[in-house]
């Protein structure tokens, strides 16, 4: 038997994960366009108490769904990226500016997705990428804000994410952002709704199990915005949070609310080290 040690460990893993079916993430490796290698498995950051290894949600999906994300041509999220390229160059608002007139090529925003949400010193608050896009639209372009979870916003985020793909998520949780991060952590472990479920009940305690037809992942947001096969569109982080909280049968916070901003910072920090994948494909 060649490669014995490797094979034995693979068999041991197979034995662990084969019963019950779909108990954990699979062993597949994610290459996009045969060019960009994504880190889908990495040691958890120091602040995480209950999880040792991070896995991208991609590792919990079926081979068919995984394959769609491995080729930009097949990835329907790239229809959104192409639409956003049109918005990027389009002059809107009274100031006669477009994204392009300040930022030039979108490649100039490489690395931005990986560090957001982020403390904004001038504004004295933690800002998400959505808030930053709308701030640009209002103060620089004198244009109308986009809805927080709207189609054009999701498309623009997909475009901005796409140039950072493969870079590790690295949001800062110390310094002025710490208070917001603590708030987010509290929300993550707070049970809500008639079902009295916290984020952690599914994504930590029950990770890898099935909730009816859904294979529970760690709830990582490194792949957002995400093209979901169930609603055939790009989904933003806050829209997904809203869906999760609603499923606990609770009144949800609003997308763009202080609570969801704090939660986004905390959940993003739980993915520190995974690759930026957006726009990813999930079911």
């Amino acid at each position: 038997m060649k490669n014995t040690s490797k094979l034995v460990s693979a068999l041991a893993l197979a034995a662990m994960t084969s019963t019950p079916a779909l108990a954990g993430p699979d062993e597949d490796q994610l290459w996009v366009n045969d060019e960009i290698q994504m880190v889908t498995e990495v040691a958890a950051p120091a602040h995480m108490e209950n999880i040792d290894t991070l896995y991208s949600g991609w590792r919990y999906r079926s081979n068919e769904t995984q394959a769609i994300q491995m080729d930009d041509f097949e990835n329907p999220g790239f229809v959104g990226v192409e639409n956003a390229m049109v918005s990027w160059a389009k002059v809107e608002g009274d100031a006669g500016e477009s994204c392009q007139s300040c930022h030039g090529d979108v490649e100039s925003l490489k690395g931005v997705r990986a560090v957001y949400p982020r403390w904004n010193e001038a504004a004295g608050e933690v800002r998400t990428l959505e808030m930053q896009v709308n701030d640009c639209r209002v103060t620089r372009m004198s244009a109308e804000e986009w809805g927080y979870t709207s189609g054009p916003m999701a498309n623009m985020l997909a475009l901005i994410s796409s140039v950072s793909r493969g870079m590790p998520v690295n949001v800062a949780i110390d310094g002025p952002a710490q208070a917001t991060w603590e708030h987010g952590k509290e929300l993550y472990y707070m049970r809500t709704g008639q079902l009295e479920l916290s984020c952690a009940n599914c994504h930590e305690d029950s990770v890898g199990l099935m909730v009816r037809a859904d294979h529970l992942s760690q709830g990582q947001i490194n792949g957002f915005p995400t093209y979901r096969l169930k609603n055939t569109k790009l989904n933003t982080v806050h829209a997904r949070f809203k869906g999760c909280v609603r499923d606990t049968r609770a009144q949800t916070y609003k997308p763009g609310s202080a609570e969801f901003i704090a939660l986004e910072l905390y959940v993003a920090s739980r993915g520190n080290g995974l690759s930026v994948e957006g726009p990813s494909v999930r079911n």
Binding site: F73, E74, P76, V79, E82, N83, T232
Partner: protein
């Protein structure tokens, strides 16, 4: 016309005559089946792409009849043997009479 329709095709730029190449096509289209009900309780009218064709130098490569069970953003991948240089022409036929086309030339000298 249905909104947000955008065809995309991927054909290798170069090949050798006689090669079998892989062609991929995707068109963004909502493919409304005609069986769903809207918020007002009435049926949303059917609006799908009902035919997709690919031609090479006037010769039909593939001709697909499409029905309402096909989901959003239909994607087709198929193989074709290239006899020589030329142009692939892709055509999608919408229920509302619109026709979307895209073309890609290939150098197979």
């Amino acid at each position: 016309m249905a909104s947000g329709v955008k065809p995309r095709v991927k054909v290798p730029k170069k090949a050798t005559a006689g090669d079998v190449i892989k062609i991929k096509s995707l068109i963004s289209h909502k493919m409304e089946s005609g069986q769903r009900k809207g918020k007002d309780g009435n049926l949303i009218p059917r609006s799908i792409i009902n035919r997709f064709t690919c031609e090479f130098g006037g010769e039909m490569v593939i001709d697909v009849a499409m029905d309402p069970a096909i989901s959003t953003n239909p994607y087709f991948q198929f193989d074709a043997k290239v006899p020589g240089s030329g142009e692939f022409v892709f055509t999608w036929y919408d229920d509302d009479g619109d026709v979307y086309t895209a073309s890609k030339s290939i150098d197979a000298g």
